[in-house]
């Protein structure tokens, strides 16, 4: 082989040497990309009746295989791979593993069709809502199975985003994860208008924010002469250029990341999109995107711009406070459960930002732990939201949830568990997640943030507990919605959520150790 290459080079002095690629290190991502591509082929060649099953099995197998690959890679040395475009280090593996596990949960929800004849997805996205054509598609039992490859592409993007070691690859990954989500957000079967509106808003604002990313990238490139994180970090001390260039660039890049993780004031899309998108996609997006975005945020800000920490810290403080306050206060008067969870997700982003603002080693590991805990409670909560239905599909208005605990105590109890977890109460993972981030923040000198965080979590606890009280202490409405018994797939997803939430609540140490072993980021 090598001989052949040498021969080739001798024959043509201009031949570009083949780059060395560490395939094993990027195997998890390659598997997911590959499965997504195979999924597209399945759409083309497998008969319609078999597609859904084939896609489900394929996607699940792919995710599991990728997860296995992530676990198998834990022994590899920490290094930069693929022409130093990708960082193969602990946080990468930890985040990728988290994203894969969360994606398995979300995929189970996406694939589940047991909730009556209608799934959450359109029969045909191209049908106009309310037309005879649409009804005919529904009657024909069609199903938009392209959802699976799209979701897989998004998963692959999410895995790549925090692993990328240069800004270009990060940008490409950002788009790989976003584009499928824009499409998927518009595919809800019920309330198509809302769903399409969500897609348009998400798309326009997402594209707007990624334009800022590109401009920031350009400015950083102008300053550092390179976009590789390591080079940027070096240039901060050695460059002869004025800092203003990199400061503005850093701000613009940070804004785009804050947009993805719904930091205030870039959170606007969150409630609208969470509410409008099909619930399984909301679950996927809420869990996966947040993990990926925080992973990338940590890597970009700690590895590339760690030298400027003194400059960006105060701003992160401000953003964290605003995010916690907005998420906590606006959640209080929400009446739609998905919207409420959206504001809760904003508040949680704020809590995580407090640890981030502390910029210590502990803040890295505590953020990782929080992401695991939060991701799973989120998947579980949205899974339950998906099951509370009446004749018009999901009953998302909170007034419809009154007395649900009387009607279906088990499901309402599980939902209550997830709410307790979000409130950070024992015996759930949420408690330790909060303890971890607040402790990291406190030790990192962000005491005031901790105070705001505790107050904000008191306010959020108020609205979570309000739902619990609503479900349990009042009689159900006569024509209220019922909780559909979950099918095997969504039951598995819920069980996954419950298990992780409780296990991490009781014995968090294993995962905390893992997170601690995973950090720090490869610098």
């Amino acid at each position: 082989m090598r001989l052949l290459a040498a021969f080739h080079a001798a024959a043509n002095p201009n031949a570009i040497p083949a780059p060395h690629i560490e395939y094993r290190a990027i195997l998890p991502m390659l598997i997911v990309f590959g499965v997504a591509c195979v999924g597209v082929l399945v759409e083309a060649f497998v008969p319609r009746v078999h597609r859904a099953v084939t896609q489900t099995v394929l996607a699940l197998a792919g995710l599991v295989a990728a997860l296995v690959a992530v676990v198998a890679n834990t022994g590899l040395p920490r290094r930069l791979v693929v022409q130093s475009a990708v960082a193969a280090d602990g946080p990468t593996l930890f985040i990728q593993g988290t994203i894969l596990a969360l994606s398995i949960g979300a995929l189970l929800l996406i694939a589940d069709r047991s909730i009556g004849a209608d799934s959450d997805f359109v029969a045909q996205a191209a049908d106009l809502p309310g037309t005879e054509q649409e009804r005919a598609s529904v009657r024909a039992g069609l199903r938009q199975t392209e959802v699976f490859p799209l979701a897989m592409f998004a998963v692959a993007g999410m895995m790549l985003f925090p692993a990328a070691n240069d800004l270009v690859l990060a940008f490409v990954a950002l788009e790989v994860l976003s584009l499928p989500l824009y499409l998927l957000a518009g595919m809800a079967r019920r309330r198509r208008l809302l769903s399409q509106e969500a897609a348009v808003k998400y798309f326009l604002l997402g594209a707007f924010s990624s334009a800022f990313f590109v401009y920031g990238l350009a400015l950083v490139y102008g300053y550092a002469k390179s976009v590789e994180y390591g080079d940027i970090a070096t240039s901060l001390t050695s460059s002869d250029r004025g800092d203003s260039l990199v400061i503005v660039g850093l701000a613009l890049i940070g804004i785009s990341l804050l947009f993805k993780l719904s930091g205030v004031p870039f959170h606007w899309w969150t409630p609208d999109v969470y509410q409008g998108a099909p619930t399984p996609i909301t679950a996927f997006m809420a869990a996966g995107t947040k993990v990926a975005a925080f992973g990338a945020l940590l890597r970009v800000f700690f590895v590339a711009f760690g030298g400027l920490a003194w400059d960006w810290r105060p701003v992160v403080w401000g953003v964290a406070i605003a995010t916690m306050v907005v998420g906590a206060i606006l959640g209080v008067t929400q009446t739609d459960v998905k919207r409420l969870l959206a504001y809760s997700s904003i508040a949680h982003a704020g809590f995580i930002l407090t640890a981030f603002a502390a910029t210590t080693r502990a803040s890295e590991s505590s953020v990782l732990f929080y992401l695991v805990a939060y991701g799973f409670m989120n998947i579980g909560a949205f899974a339950i939201v998906m099951l509370v239905r009446d004749a018009d599909g999901e009953a998302n208005h909170l007034s419809r949830w009154v007395g649900l605990g009387r009607r279906s105590p088990l499901m309402a109890g599980i939902f209550a568990l997830f709410l307790l977890a979000m409130a950070g109460l024992p015996p759930t993972s949420g408690l330790w997640a909060k303890v971890a981030v607040f402790q990291a923040a406190y030790q990192g000198g962000a005491g005031p943030l901790v105070i705001v965080g505790v107050l904000a979590s008191a306010v959020t606890a108020y609205y979570y507990l309000r739902i619990i009280v609503l479900m349990f202490s009042q009689e159900p409405a006569v024509e209220g919605p019922t909780v559909v018994m979950p099918g095997a797939l969504s039951a598995a997803a819920i069980a996954l959520g419950v298990a992780v939430t409780i296990v991490l609540g009781v014995v968090p140490q294993t995962v905390l150790d893992l997170a601690d072993k995973a950090v720090p980021f490869l610098r």
Binding site: L205, V332, Q439
Partner: protein, 634 residues
Amino acid sequence: MLTTHAASGVFSVTWLIIAIPLASAAVLILGGRRTDRWGHLLGVAAPLASFVLGLVEFATLVGKPEVERSIDNHVFGWTIVEGFHADIGLQVDALSISFVLLITGVGSLIHIYSIGYMAHDPKRRLFFGYFNLFVAAMLLLVLGDNYLALYIGWEGVGLASYLLIGFWSYKPSAATAAKKAFVVNRVGDFGLSVAIMVMFATFGTFSFTGVFSAVHGADPATLNAIGLLLLLGACGKSAQVPLQSWLLDAMEGPTPVSALIHAATMVTAGVYLVARSAPIFDLAPTAQLAVTVVGAVTLLFGAIIGCAKDDIKKALAASTMSQIGYMILAVGLGPAGYAFGIAHLLTHGFFKAGLFLGAGSVMHATKDEVDMRRFGGLAKPMPLTFATFGLAYLAIIGFPGLSGWFTKDAIIDAAYHKGGTSGFVLGSAALIGAGITAFYMSRVVFMTFLGRPRWEADVHPHESPKVMTWPMILLAVGSIGAGYVLMLGGRFANFLAPVVGHSEEPSVQPASTAGLVTLAAMVVGVGIAALMYLRRPVPAVAPAGSFATVAARRDLYGDAFNESVFMRPGQYLTRLLVFFDNRVVDGAVNGIAAFFGGFSGRLRYVQTGFVRSYALSMLGGVAILVAALLMVRG
């Protein structure tokens, strides 16, 4: 003093004391309608089982030599976050076992009573579920061997209390009360959680043994800060000034709830917290002084409010507030007072539960009437209730020989013994409080059971069923005897000594000077009440326009004099305090809730739904962030 011993024998199953009610609660809450038929029986059996277990442990504990009377039952090691290993364990010692017996003992009685009281409620099963949840949480609170477990229990009782106050949430007042209790308690909980964080940051551990062995070298300022934060937590849960306002409203819950949670157990958690943290407070004089001041203020505050309430449950609630003030005062006195505070807590558990159950029995008999002006002369149709209520009443006012006399006098005495001006002021406050207590409690009894009947025509009072009267009888027995058992010969103080330290004071002499003065104050209080509410008919409508009524009854010249000289200023004071309570404190709390609600309600309209507005505020945010970064840079 702080060494603990590994658990063996019966102590190794201490966790069952908590697990049994918890499991029962899980069954009842999650079981749905299936458990309707037998739910209440399970609900009663659970605390009874825990009580029996507690008794066995108590007996075993008493049989051990004093130095071994602290058994640590390690449940599991819990390495939580890097660098700290929280051994979640249960600690059985004199203090915790006393609480266990109180909670499960009185709790069981109230559970039994509830079978009858809640018989007609379609959600009785759920009620028992919450009740058991409460018991489990409260047991965790007192049995945990570290602050973290205590905090978990603390939050747990808060949740159960919230659920139970709002149990009849179809009543808007109940829902509001639940919310208020929740919000006020969050303030206290915040203090506690910060205290725990500071503790961890300073000592690197949560466990009682760890913290207490580390306090000796600690910075006094830190200890004072921890103490004050703990006090804030105690104020929230124990309804002490300035966080007292939720307790009166909490009476919207079913009466057994008021009896168990808002009189006998949960509200005493603050006392437990201070007593448990004795080693910290002993080294933090400022915090300790603050504790005594809070206690003294509250005991007067509650007593005065008690004089003005016509609602029997609110009057009792005010008295609870006042009595807990005594306990807080006592535990603030340091080693001299811990034993008395806890002893008063135990006797109070009996007689206050008895009073509440009696009140519930009265309400049960009069179609849920709570206005004492519509009672009167109930002694005849309800002799058993009257007898038990009367005994509990005598106990609370400190009638010689009954339990309250032993413990309350001891506290007053101990306050005077503190010495100095502060000791005198505190003791006098407690003394005056005792007089007022006698007055308003007599008022309650006279207005409810004596005098002429003032109930509505369609009300036919009758004695309550046996399932309700027996618990009352047992509690009355406790009200009589608990004092002897605990106080004679300093028995309880000795028992508690390994936990809270010895007092150099000799055991209290019941016939001391202070005791005699207290007795006199009590007699005066009862006498005034008798003059006002026995010799004179009680109007069925509150004398709101008392100017006019005074004029109408001019022939009773002496009474008019009484009224204008003693009553009016008292009334004004009372009104002022009630006003303060209703407007200022409630106003602040309601205001906070309304603020968040209103703020949120208004702020949400910022989310206009217009993409362009979103994009605009994003661009604005970008500009601000960039500008901020450039400015930070210089």
